[in-house]
């Protein structure tokens, strides 16, 4: 969205709550992720060694639907939280509109693919 140069422009632009909703989402998802991710790191990195995260260990753990849901929640929330955070950065630093459009396009596609991959992976076990 370009800057309103006059107040008429400004008035016309002023009717979307998208930014507000994202802003609230960042805070709520952040609050939830604090617990989910710190727990996740503790359980998979501090408590056990990286060497323990073998194929079998992962498959075994994810056989439990509770862990499945836990991990999927992290996947979904953190990708959204991260993607929106990155969108903030892109909108801050990429000033030309055409560039911004394709950078965003490529980025969101990658995120969507990762989300699909993660979801399929989680629920295909």
């Amino acid at each position: 969205m370009i800057r309103a140069r006059t107040f008429t422009d400004a008035r016309q632009q002023a009717h979307s709550n998208a930014e507000l909703n994202w802003w609230i989402f960042m805070r709520i998802s952040g609050l939830i992720l604090v617990f989910l991710i710190l727990g996740h790191i503790y359980m998979t990195f501090i408590q056990v060694s990286e060497s323990d995260a073998t194929f079998d260990a992962v498959v075994n753990k994810l056989a439990n639907p509770a862990w499945k849901f836990y991990d999927w929640l992290i996947l979904a929330l953190s990708l959204l939280h991260g993607a929106n955070g990155a969108r903030y950065s892109i909108e801050d630093y990429v000033r030309s509109r055409p560039n911004r459009a394709w950078v965003k396009g490529v980025f969101f596609t990658v995120i969507a693919l990762l989300f699909t991959l993660g979801t399929v992976g989680l629920f295909s076990i």
């Binding site: 969205m1 370009i2 800057r3 309103a4 632009q13 709550n17 998208a18 507000l20 802003w23 801050d92």
Partner: protein, 254 residues
Amino acid sequence: MTQTHAQASSAPVSASVPMLQLKVKVLRFDPEKDKKAYWTTYDVEAQAGDRVLDVINHIKWYLEPSLTFRRSCMHGICGSDAMLINGRNRLACKTLVRDVAKSGGTITVEPIRGLKVEKDLLVDMEPFFDSYKAIMPYFINESPAPAAERIQSEEEAERMAHSSNCILCACCTTSCPIFWVNGSYLGPAAIVQAHRFIFDTRDEATQQRLGIMNQNTGVWRCRTAYNCTEACPRDIPITQLIEEVKRAVMYGQA
């Protein structure tokens, strides 16, 4: 470049006042002849209580007449002389030499960032005032005015005490890391102005202004870096005001 020494103070000289030896490093740029900005250092003497503006004026008047900057009132009310002094945005007339340098020390002076440099320390202020104008910076109340004043309590008037104190010097907006990289952000100064009207109990256009603040270019671009609050020469708690506007938008739209 080394220049002759002279007295930079506007105050009467008295032999008992110790003079500080200073190097003043100014970032200069004249698009008529320079491809890029360059630093020039001037040697000056000044008193500890002199304003940095006194020192810069002295350079202009006696050492380098082509040095260009804006200034007017000399005491922090007109908002002309916002500059980047020793790495921070300040008004040159509200910054005393003793606060930024010791004898033998260096004062660096650069133009404020995020706005196009026209010449030396003077920048194009139009984009800044465009942002200001975008928030409808005027009182709106279409209902017929009473014969005397509109009544407003002392507490209600006090809600505007900080925001109405703004002198539009641009110290805040041009200290904002987001504004540096993206001028489409309305910036702290415009939001402070919006705050002044949003929290004026007599004003009737609160919803429109909240709408403008609710856009992509409005308050949500604020990442609470606090540079604006630190830079404000009028001690306006800018970040706090912006947060108040954020909450007003949130509850106003909810």
